[in-house]
Symmetry: D2
Subunit: 101 residues, 4 copies
Amino acid sequence: MLAEFSIVPVGSGSSIGTRLAEVLDIVDSSGIPYKINPMGTVVEGEWDDIMKLIKKCHKTVMKSEERAVTTITIDDRKGKPNRIEEKVKSIEKRLGKSLKK
Amino acid sequence: MLAEFSIVPVGSGSSIGTRLAEVLDIVDSSGIPYKINPMGTVVEGEWDDIMKLIKKCHKTVMKSEERAVTTITIDDRKGKPNRIEEKVKSIEKRLGKSLKK
Amino acid sequence: MLAEFSIVPVGSGSSIGTRLAEVLDIVDSSGIPYKINPMGTVVEGEWDDIMKLIKKCHKTVMKSEERAVTTITIDDRKGKPNRIEEKVKSIEKRLGKSLKK
Amino acid sequence: MLAEFSIVPVGSGSSIGTRLAEVLDIVDSSGIPYKINPMGTVVEGEWDDIMKLIKKCHKTVMKSEERAVTTITIDDRKGKPNRIEEKVKSIEKRLGKSLKK
């Protein structure tokens, strides 16, 4: 399944960038396929692997913050592997043009 | 922590109501504090208990559907229990009037 | 259509409750049907009316804050009025029992 | 401000790809800075321009569908232009390494 998540530390002021760098370091070291965008991180894998990763990220932020809002969107489709690469390509193929990524 | 989740079966047409009834039956039987609203279900508890419940709901929907989009929003705040009851009351107290629920 | 929205002031620390009270006061005075829950506010109406209300709420928060994250989820279904009341009732009818609200 | 949005046609089965191609064609022709990822589209601009674009996309989908769920997440930060390019770069600079995009 595909999942996008983002973690917003609340009430921390200027330290948000530090927290996000910690989170992305965990994601990048996890071995799970991912793509970062300006609003969140998309990962692909099985439910338990993805949720273990997001929990680790969320708990890391909560070590330094009083409050965090974490949003997770899951797109689960049977029998469709490697959607993290194929989903955008498939739309580009339909449109017959390349899109900004 | 507080979490709101919703599960949208995609491509199933008229059977959405059946799926949502299955999901709410699981939530209502779980023993976890919850409140249903027209757009989702709010639950309160520890990370693992909440994610186990949402996984069960999501997997139940995927037994009957080819695809589902599940959204989870977590509001985690240190040292604040029973927010499922207190959060709205606290805003009403500030406003000095009761709100529609 | 139905829409749920929530506004999270980022970096403001303890003033979040003040901001949310301002927002809910705007919603309650708007005349638009709404229901508040512990994670957000559900409203029902036409696209332009709903977006005008959410913009007003968001801009009010931004008067006092440097940053805010606003999330909007829209569930638009043709020919279904009064879903803010009927959606939960319809699930309860299917289940044959009442749910916590 | 930055905003990510996604539109999920519900109950349409296999035609989802067609709808998403229509939506991305509208976005690509709009002139608004955007980046597509496997879970949504990130755009940058003023509130009214962004909401006008998302409304056009949503209404286009509703021409062919009975129901759609549209999610919008706004990250509004005072005095920070070109975040669609700079936000990821800023995290990479903190980490001292490049991330997958």
